[in-house]
């Protein structure tokens, strides 16, 4: 296989999830010896594209060609057979095994007499595989559990090179945000390895949020937005601001059409939430305020500490330092139970794992944090109190269900999310924390949720919301706090802000 030949072509790749189009007619060319960057905001379709390549999801439509031959990737193992390798952020390394055994994880171990492990050959081939990537500092006999995140990733990459025949490598390496958990020394080691992979003729598809990395390692970059391929550049023909503009779409009408519906009220005066020098394991010195009736947004890149700030405020993560004041009253150390009781509410990011009791009724899901209020003698359940309230709240959030006794598992993502909203507003909270309130929600439900959030704020609740959808933050919020390095690093008024400006602040470009 020679370098710089067209290795893989993807055409007309489309995929919808429950009517939401995640990928629309995408195309992609991968060239041997090149690293190809794939960028886009959260929800732009990057993960969907990777899942289609890996055969983890079935495309609605897709044509793929490898070395000019049509290939079918829809079977889960086809991609592997054809030479695709996928490096995810969460690496499935077997921690109890040695590095050498992990390198062989997809191959049979070399054996003696058919049933004994040939440890000498195992070790030799492990060293060879690592050396092909120029990795010399990892001892193949170490236990994988002791590897750093960066070394674990190198081992995972090297496992693709464990084959006996060094030329038998028609490899396309797909890396999904590989540097998210790496420090700078590990990152530069990874980049060296990527250069070596390219020298061997591999094609790389490199998904990242960090644009500066692309200019270091990539030759080409494809921009996705709202499921469509917006552009594909040679890296030398573009620059950061152009890429950001393409990712966010300058033409997106932020305030113009949405802002009219969710327009901000005049700023109220009194401070609802005051946070002073808050520290947890992932938050480093957060200080900010939210006023009564205000919608404050938290913007930031993955890993900037947005969700973790909400964890700290809601008593999920223990505080190491700092003070939280609600309506001028200093709060005692919080637990989620105490936070609910103090008039705070929380809609978590992962509604299925963190929010819902999927096997339980709609009404019970709504009432769960509020059972004390809905009971007799603080002991006995009184359905005649909970049910009318659940019905009323269900109407307020425009829930569409067959019955209050329907199992939540059967509902759509949008309706599940609305259940969490109904739960959040049941006790008329003073402060509502929202983490990605419209993630995985269809367009109609999204609109309902925007309307509801605005309504809650107009009624006097303070809202602090995390969102990766910048247009949503700009349209909905009065003020946006930009998270960088585990704390709100700056505050921007939402009025007049463009997505490009906001994204630049997230990346902290001067």
């Amino acid at each position: 296989m020679s370098a710089n030949t067209l290795l893989f072509e993807l055409r007309q790749a489309s995929k919808s999830y429950a009517g939401v189009r995640a990928l629309i007619d995408a195309r992609l060319d991968l060239v041997g010896g090149e690293a190809h960057g794939l960028i886009g905001e959260n929800g732009a379709g990057k993960s969907t594209l990777i899942k289609l390549l890996a055969g983890l999801e079935q495309p609605d439509q897709m044509t793929t060609r490898l070395n000019g031959q049509d290939v079918d990737l829809s079977d889960g193992s086809a991609a592997y057979r054809l030479g695709f390798r996928f490096i995810h952020q969460e690496l499935n390394i077997a921690p109890a095994l040695s590095v050498a055994e992990n390198l062989f994880i997809n191959n049979p171990l070399p054996s003696l007499a058919g049933f004994l492990v040939d440890w000498a050959t195992l070790r030799r081939r492990a060293i060879e595989a690592l050396e092909r990537l120029g990795v010399k500092h990892i001892d193949p006999q170490r236990r994988a559990a002791s590897l750093s995140a960066g070394d674990a990733m190198l081992v995972k990459i090297a496992s693709a090179f464990i084959g006996d025949d060094a030329r038998d490598e028609p490899l396309i390496m797909v890396m999904d945000e590989p540097t998210a958990a790496l420090n700078s020394a590990e990152t530069s080691l990874l980049f060296d390895v990527i250069d070596r992979l390219r020298a061997r003729g591999c094609a790389l598809l490199y998904v990242t949020h960090r644009l500066d990395e692309l200019f270091r390692i990539a030759q080409r970059v494809t921009v996705l937005r709202d499921g469509r391929v917006i552009n594909c550049h040679a890296i030398t023909d573009t620059n950061t601001s152009e890429l950001i503009r393409e990712m966010t779409g300058r033409a997106t009408p932020a305030k113009a059409d949405r802002g009219a519906d969710f327009g901000a009220e005049p700023q109220p005066a009194n401070t609802r939430l005051r946070v002073t020098d808050l520290r947890t394991d992932s938050i480093s010195g957060a200080s900010f305020e939210v006023k009564a009736g205000e919608i404050a947004g938290l913007a930031g890149l993955v890993g900037s500490g947005r969700s973790e700030l909400l964890y700290a405020l809601f008593g999920i993560d223990p505080l190491l330092e700092g003070f939280i004041e609600l309506d001028g009253r200093a709060l005692p150390p919080l637990t989620p139970a105490r936070a609910w009781a103090l008039g705070m509410a929380y809609v978590p990011e992962e509604r299925r794992s963190q929010g819902l009791f999927l096997g339980d009724h709609v009404s019970r899901n709504i009432a769960m944090p509020h059972l004390d209020q809905l009971s007799r003698l603080k002991t006995f359940i009184v359905d005649s109190r909970a049910n009318p309230l659940s019905r009323q709240l269900g109407e307020a959030v425009r829930l569409k269900i067959n019955s209050l006794r329907q199992r939540v598992r059967q509902l759509s993502g949008g309706n599940q999310q609305k259940i969490l909203f109904a739960r959040a507003i049941l006790a008329q909270p003073r402060l509502i924390l929202l983490d990605e309130p419209t993630r995985g929600v269809d367009v109609g439900a999204k609109y309902d949720i925007y309307r509801l959030i605005r309504q809650l704020a107009d009624d006097g609740a303070s809202i602090l919301m995390v969102s990766s959808e910048l247009d949503e933050l700009i349209a909905l919020c009065d003020r946006i706090l930009v998270m960088r390095g585990g704390r709100p690093a700056e505050e921007l008024p939402a009025a007049g802000l463009t997505e490009s400006q906001l994204l630049e602040r997230c990346y902290d470009f001067a």
Binding site: A339, F357, L371
Partner: protein, 353 residues
């Protein structure tokens, strides 16, 4: 804005697989009863025999009902059998040193509560898995029982008559034809436990929160449920249930042997599992547990009447538990066997969902 959408798609169509999944255990129970009725027409389906079954099963019932609470939260308690033995020995030792019935019972219940608290602390606060924690305390409790008793049974005249007569005692309810209708004291105790657990699990905040913890522990925590406290409580209840059962066993046998409660643990867990098959979401529920206890009780009673070897009884009990749980897990995702069985019943996958 209408809250309820059209309910057209919720209309049910009869499906054999779905029916067996949901009610197979109940059908099985009825079949077992019918089988013994046919086999032993004179003795099986009689009031005295059912009174007898209820007495035989009362001790297991108390343990299993309390165990249901622990299993609702997704944990289980392996130490209940050893605890029941230990409580018998504690009460027996109290009698030997001249203690009254009240003090022996109080001390026994206290031991049960403290042992349950220990389990709860290990699981909910220290964070050890329930399997390891209660396996450890099982061994500790058994060792304690053997140590305190010196490995010997406690019986004879040191045990107050009013204590041992309670276990054999009955309350007369009247007569039906030729037979006296009586309720054994032990049956009444088991019934009281059943009612209490039923109320807690179905009508109280605590019960709903316990189910929430079992359904999704992280969501429960984010939703403001004090998980640690409730898990602790569930183990204390389980320990208390084991203590009550230990006292009942001691009273009924008039003997406290340091290992006499050991069979209870596996049977109690089996009863809860059998009961879970009767719930739509495969959750532990105390009425289901009651059915599970009755299945085990009727099997033991019927097979004994048919003079079948107790070893064979164990084999058949095990087979029935496995069958029941297999039948209830015939959902789409559950592997080749489920798919194979569905083909056998010629059901389209949509029907059995």
């Amino acid at each position: 804005m209408k809250l309820f959408a059209s309910a057209a798609e919720t209309r049910a169509r009869f499906s054999l697989t779905a029916f067996l999944r949901r009610y197979g255990t109940l059908v099985g129970f009825i079949l077992i009863v019918l089988f013994f009725w046919i086999q032993r027409p004179q003795t099986f389906m009689t009031i005295p025999n059912w009174v007898n079954i209820s007495r035989q099963m009362s001790i297991l019932g108390v343990v299993a009902f309390a165990m249901t609470i622990v299993m609702v939260t997704g944990d289980f308690d392996l130490s209940v059998g050893a605890m029941a033995s230990l409580v018998g020995i504690v009460a027996g030792t109290t009698f030997q040193s001249g203690g009254s019935v009240a003090s022996a019972v109080t001390l026994g219940l206290l031991v049960g509560a403290v042992g349950g608290l220990l389990n709860g602390v290990l699981v909910a606060a220290v964070g050890i898995s329930a399997f390891v924690a209660t396996l450890g305390t099982l061994t500790v409790f058994r060792g304690l029982a053997l140590y305190i008793s010196g490995g010997a049974s406690i019986y004879g005249r040191t045990i107050p008559a009013e204590f041992s007569s309670f276990g054999r005692g009955t309350i007369a309810l009247g007569r039906i034809g030729e037979t006296d209708l009586v309720l054994p004291n032990l049956t009444i105790l088991a019934f009281i436990t059943l009612v209490l657990v039923f109320i807690v699990l179905n009508f109280t905040i605590v019960g709903r929160r316990l189910y929430a913890i079992g359904g999704n522990m992280e969501a429960a925590r984010f939703g403001g449920i004090r998980i640690r406290r409730l898990r602790l409580l569930s183990f204390v209840i389980s320990g208390l249930g084991a203590a009550v059962a230990g006292l009942m066993l001691f009273s009924r046998l008039s003997t406290a042997h340091p290992t006499q409660g050991e069979g209870l643990m596996l049977q109690a867990i089996a009863a809860v599992f059998l009961g879970m098959t009767l719930s739509e979401e495969s959750q532990p529920n105390v009425i289901g547990t009651l059915i599970g206890v009755l299945i085990l009780g009727v099997l033991a009673n019927g097979l004994t009447q048919m003079q079948i070897d107790t070893y064979i009884q164990q084999i058949s009990t095990g087979v029935i538990i496995i069958l029941a749980v297999t039948l209830s897990s015939l959902s789409q995702q559950q592997g080749h066997f489920g798919r194979w069985l569905r083909r056998l019943f010629r059901q389209s996958p949509a029907d059995s969902s």
